[in-house]
């Protein structure tokens, strides 16, 4: 299969010099769109597939340049800036005008080739292990992500796919063929809770995981630990079972919930979703890790 270098992807952000998204120095591409709606999402600006407006209140100068908006989405009263998102038609003229970058866009349409060139800028720093990581959102929410993986492969870049595991099964084989390492996030082994907290069943995710393993994918499982949601031993036990079932045997990882996603919700003009009671304790983390043998 050959990559379509002109295929387009909506990108939320590209971060260089990342050290936690796979081996070595990496450039991480955050793609827009996700089929899940995890209540603890730490990248809520990537959930919607289409570009959207972000507002950083602390940067706002109250200069009122954004009143140029033809839809009347921006208004000022008593020295405060109000944004009526229902009036926004996503033209993003305001973000272009805003002098302080208080208004920004999450979501830029780029071709596979453009993204690749961005990742190639840090070639000198990748060494033998580094490369590109696709994250999001769910990268495979946009099928052209497979073209991006393939194109990076063609250029000799190491490829990592950070996935929630929920994607159409037909994308699995081409994705496995173009990916050096999967970072496979597991939210919950209990399907009822999974539905309640992420909006979807975990069946597709676990089925895709099994098939990916059969196809010979190298998989690192990453377990999200949320205090009071999935912090029980029955879940830990099932996670340990999942680890044993994966043939590639890469050391799994536990990712503790953090409240940063709540801060980001504010930028999206949504109610803050950060919940400090969800942050797991050191004891819970240690216990989970013990079950996983790490």
């Amino acid at each position: 299969m050959k990559a379509d270098a002109k295929a387009k992807l909506t990108v939320s952000a590209i971060q260089r010099f990342c050290m936690r998204d796979g081996p070595g120095v990496r450039t991480t591409v955050f793609l827009k769109g996700c089929p899940l709606r995890c209540k603890w999402c730490h990248n809520p600006e990537t959930q919607n597939a289409s570009p959207e407006l972000l507002y950083y209140a602390k940067k706002c100068l109250n200069c009122q340049a954004c009143l140029a908006c033809e839809q009347g989405a921006h208004s000022f009263s008593e020295g405060r800036h109000h944004i009526d998102k229902s009036k926004c038609v996503s033209c993003f003229k305001c973000a272009g005008i805003c002098p302080s970058s208080a208004l920004q866009i999450s979501g830029k349409v780029m071709t596979v080739e453009e993204i690749c060139s961005e990742a190639e800028k840090d070639l000198a720093f990748y060494g033998e292990s580094g490369g590109i990581t696709l994250s999001g959102g769910e990268p495979l929410f946009q099928p052209a992500a497979v073209d991006l993986l393939l194109r990076c492969r063609e250029k000799g870049l190491n490829t990592v796919l950070d996935t929630c595991g929920y994607f159409p099964p037909e994308l699995l084989a081409p994705a496995v063929a173009a990916t050096d390492l999967f970072l496979w996030d597991i939210k919950d082994t209990d399907d009822e809770r999974h539905k309640k907290f992420t909006g979807v069943s975990n069946k597709t995710i676990l089925e895709n995981l099994r098939k990916a393993d059969e196809l010979g994918a190298i998989i690192k499982l990453r377990f999200i630990l949320v205090n009071g949601v999935n912090s029980d031993e029955r879940h830990y036990e099932k996670c340990a079972g999942l680890c044993r079932s994966i043939r590639s045997g890469v050391k799994p990882e536990v990712i503790p919930y953090h409240a940063f996603g709540g801060v980001k919700s504010e930028f999206l003009l949504k109610r803050g979703g950060g919940r400090s009671e969800w942050i797991p304790t050191e004891e819970q983390l240690a216990q989970f890790r013990e079950y996983l043998g790490i």
């Binding site: 010099f17 050290m19 720093f125 060494g127």
Partner: protein, 247 residues
């Protein structure tokens, strides 16, 4: 026998960024005329806060791996080196150039005027060949790439690049890998003088409050190490500022 006299320049990033801001504000985006801009700068941006914030925020300055501005930097450094070469063999001297501030950016700040890249009079200039404080937003690899676009062979007596790194980044085995990768990339791209600095700003603040318990805390000032507690308040504040704006 030969004699060496090495001219060094400072404020490199600020000069480059100033020129680039004029190009963008006046010529490309036509937000203000050249004469108006000079008047605004003469009055230290008084009454033009919106334009100042725009100039400071909207453009990618030196240190963000943007060719448009980095080419200006490479050109300026070449012109300076040409000037140095032209002096060679005068009275038996050679004049190899370099870039350095070695802390003098603090002394200079008192006489420093407002700049087109959104800086007010009195703000501290860039250290050595590093970006203007707070103007690099992409990270260490982008800073290194910007710097290495210059022909550094032409400044043989040194052009130090200070890189601020967060302690979390260099923690553990992965952190060691990160540092090695940075240095390897730096050398591959033609760099030869880098000073990585790993400081947790909260520790520096603590040392300022309780010097007695931080007698051995050593910081890289610029070309040399100093015990933090032996520096005066001004110096300490400058180092804290630089580390806060670094990544």
């Amino acid at each position: 026998m030969y004699n060496v006299y090495s001219p060094h320049i400072g404020g490199l990033a600020d000069t480059v960024n100033f020129l680039y801001a004029v190009k963008k504000l006046v010529f490309d985006d036509k937000l203000v005329s050249f004469i108006e801009l000079i008047g605004i700068l003469a009055s230290n941006w008084e009454g033009h806060e919106t334009l100042r914030v725009l100039a400071r925020n909207k453009y990618a300055y030196y240190g963000n791996d943007s060719d448009e501005v980095d080419e200006l930097c490479a050109r300026l450094l070449n012109d300076f080196a040409d000037g140095c070469d032209a002096l060679n063999n005068r009275s038996g001297y050679i004049f190899p150039g370099g870039v350095s501030t070695f802390g003098r950016q603090l002394q200079w700040s008192k006489r420093r005027l407002a700049c087109a890249h959104g800086r007010k009079a009195g703000e501290v200039l860039a250290a050595n060949a590093s970006p203007t404080p707070g103007s690099d937003h992409i990270g260490a690899t982008a800073v290194i790439r910007s710097y290495c676009k210059c022909d550094l062979k032409r400044v043989p007596t040194g052009a130090a690049l200070d890189i601020k790194l967060l302690p979390s980044l260099v923690k553990g085995e992965e952190g060691l890998d990160a540092l090695v990768s940075l240095m390897r990339g730096f050398v591959t791209l033609g760099g030869f003088f880098m000073q990585p600095d790993v400081v947790d700003v909260s520790v520096l603040r603590e040392a300022q409050r309780e010097p007695e318990s931080h007698q051995n805390l050593s910081v890289r000032v610029s070309g040399w190490n100093a015990r933090f507690v032996t520096l005066n308040k001004e110096w300490q504040d400058m180092i804290i500022d630089q580390n806060e704006s670094g990544r």
